[in-house]
Symmetry: C2
DNA sequence: TGACAAAGGAGAATAATTCTCCTTTAATAG
DNA sequence: CTATTAAAGGAGAATTATTCTCCTTTGTCA
């Protein structure tokens, strides 16, 4: 559950940013963003669509996708899984981490020993069986930033 | 580049595991697995297919997908992006980590302060601009393990 | 309030992945 | 070493997730 105050705060930020970016603050956009801002379940676009339909039954799935993309590009939203476009495989079964370029989606291995050990300061939810923990170092690779792009 | 010795070692493990699991060690499977075991670029199924086609031009893309899945289920392979099936969104722009159930794909937030700070013991490749680093705590959630499943 | 660019809706198009169904092959018992 | 058979492979259809196109509607700002 997200506290009401946080939602209000996020909606305010949303409207401000829309203003700054010259994005029209349409009814649809506000409802879509509120669906996202009031969820902590990291919903899929489809789930957002279902939620939004309760308020705007005529909403189009395409509109939801289009705005999710717009919001993400504007930095109003984050993708939990940057590499979701297509499956990426790893035959290295040892413990290691990943360096990920958010632009070109290249992934490089980072040996386990190159990162300080991860420890938890609070126990995990009851019953969760932790198997491994992997660090994603996200940024822009030399090629991508070098390209002036 | 993966050292030849590592590739050989991985191929041995592969054949042993196939034996144990009752998986036929077909020509196609060996070539597919070798393509994976000799790459450190975390290829997509499509890329594996292209690679394998050099040796087996008649290979079918379906076969590549089928085996990638088989290998993954057998623990011979890992998915870099467990959540690749579909986009997952996050309107929480603050620094935080994720607890991910590898079975049901549920994602929960873990506050930044609940994990010891991540520090690098070796510098990143030249020119890589680190933006943030996020920890994925992977395991099985209470519901999924409770289900006896 | 009107003009216009930006946004929305419907559905087609594309991309990634899985499925179906028939043929071929690896494993193994004799 | 061969015959049997279940498992695996191939081709292409089907499904799912996502994007695009094209026309209509609506915020925004003068």
């Amino acid at each position: 559950m997200i506290p009401e105050a946080t939602i209000v705060q996020r909606m305010d930020l949303f409207r401000q940013r829309c203003r700054k970016l010259g994005l029209a603050c349409t009814h649809q956009r506000q409802i879509i963003y509120r669906a996202l801002a009031s969820s902590d379940s990291h919903p899929t676009p489809e789930a957002v669509y279902e939620q939004v339909k309760r308020e705007i039954p005529a909403i189009s799935l395409g509109t939801v996708y289009k705005n999710i993309r717009t919001f993400t590009e504007a930095g109003l939203l984050r993708e939990v899984n940057i590499l979701h476009d297509s499956l990426r495989l790893d035959a290295n079964l040892g413990n290691h981490h990943h360096l990920v370029c958010t632009r070109c989606k290249r992934v490089a291995d980072v040996p386990h020993r190159d990162v300080t050990p991860i420890r938890l300061r609070r126990s995990l939810p009851r019953g969760f069986q932790l198997e491994r923990c992997s660090v994603e170092l996200l940024g822009i690779c030399a090629e991508c930033s070098g390209a002036g792009n």
